[in-house]
Symmetry: C2
Subunit: 285 residues, 2 copies
């Protein structure tokens, strides 16, 4: 599968998924692996053999990793780098966990409410954006302001986790059992999220609209939650435009909620690009 020389393997290893990319000497991606093989629950001794097994389809090369693999419950804990932080700061704090295997630290920022990320910093730095506001939708969505190529500050929103919790365990489970991409219901949820009353009131509407024969379902719930995130994040990170990094379907949903004219969607593989750039910075230093 790979004819060219492979200079680096980059890996984003989260709690629920594993992705790896093989880079040629100019950084081009020439091979990839994606497995639902998250590192949650792995014992410390299991990391090295699991990584070897997952990377078996790719040529051998130096490995640079990011994500929850560097958390306290991961392979080795990589202490957070405080913001503001860019390629230089992250490259300077790469940790060698085994022969030819490196780990990028996550970022933290402090204030009234401290915040942390692991993995998203590589996606952000991989975007090449020098100044702007980024949003990375997901289980724990991240919003970040970049200034002069450095992450100045960021904030986490529990949006994706809420969505799963409410559909699985709450009184809204019955009303949101079916997953449908209903654009009108999603838009109605986004509009509703801007009204007075707050999220914990608006959510009850998922149940009562169903009771009153106007079922809105999972798409309306998604609109309420994503809309509430955007209302809150827009206050913390005012910006005419927002750059989205994430799975295509989810990023497209956020773009609709933001208003398509306000949103730019970047392609995938940003973590690979970020780790490549961090590694280059490291070996040039």
């Amino acid at each position: 599968m790979v004819a060219r020389m492979v200079a680096l393997i980059t890996v984003d290893w989260g709690l629920s998924s594993f992705r790896a990319w093989a880079h040629a000497e100019d950084g081009t991606i020439v091979g990839r692996v994606a497995e639902p093989a998250g590192c949650a629950g792995l014992s410390r001794e299991a990391f090295a053999p699991t990584l070897a097994r997952l990377l078996a389809p790719l040529p051998k090369a130096t490995v640079a990793m990011c994500g929850m693999v560097g958390s306290r419950q991961g392979w080795v804990e990589a202490p957070y780098v405080p913001c503001p932080a860019g390629l230089d700061e992250v490259a300077a704090r790469l940790i060698q966990v085994a022969d030819g295997i490196w780990l990028a630290p996550g970022l933290c920022c402090d204030g009234v409410q401290p915040d942390v990320m692991r993995g998203e910093e590589c996606q952000i730095l991989g975007s090449g954006i020098v100044d702007g506001v980024l949003c990375l939708p997901g289980t724990h969505s991240k919003w970040a302001r970049i200034e002069g190529g450095k992450v100045r500050r960021f904030a986490t929103f529990l949006t994706g986790e809420f969505y799963a919790l409410l559909r699985r365990h709450s009184i809204l489970a019955h009303s949101t059992a079916a997953e449908r991409d209903d654009a009108a219901a999603f838009a109605a949820g986004v509009r509703r999220s801007r009204d007075e009353g707050g999220l914990s009131h608006h959510l009850f509407g998922v149940r009562t609209l169903d009771l009153f024969g106007r079922p809105s379902g999972a798409a309306y719930l998604s609109g309420l939650l994503i809309g509430a995130e955007i209302v809150g994040a827009s206050n913390l990170f005012p910006s005419a435009r927002v750059t989205l990094i994430g799975a295509p379907a989810l990023a497209a949903r956020y773009a609709r909620a933001l208003g398509d004219s306000r949103a730019d969607i970047l392609g995938e593989d940003m973590a690979a690009r970020g780790l490549w750039a961090i590694w280059r910075r490291r070996i040039q230093a």
Copy 2:
């Protein structure tokens, strides 16, 4: 236990609890039963014998019930009475479910987002308040505006359900495992709920404060959720004062979050008083 003649038994039968009161001819409460014997999951045939068993400690008399016993999954479905609704409207819609056993309907209000209650309407009407704003904290907290002795409109907030869900199933479970009545952490959560960013961002702070060695725990989580409810409800129901009806410890928590000078706390047994008043209205009509 009861020397005086009993004129009426009132019952509030919810999904998770059963309470009953014996009333003398002037309405005075002369006996009571409280059991964790909710009606969730009871088959239709099981209601009559279960009620007889639960009421065995009290003298025999006519029974007036409210609560989820009147829902679609209850004994008999009592259709909601639309707002505005007071004693007259509810009394006119009492349903006889068996010989000497009556059921009060719940209330609904419609609009952008419909809303429903079952049981709380009796507590509200039992308060005797003619004009004002009431808050009934609980799994699904209710706020209501009373005008001229009628419930004009009301709104539900999922606060109590959120609190249980987040402690049991979310990333915040570990940080909120211990239940402590930490007044300072609760107050910090209430203050934080007024900041920009929104609930799904503020909640992540429960985790990160813990990560950064400033654990805030379940009391902070409670403050965030109750505070967010109050922010949202205060926009929907502006009022200099709020009357609280609920379990004493929870009502006291809400009073602290509102500012004690803004809050009045009513005693318990409001459901009994309301059902008594509804029944009197019925037999006088």
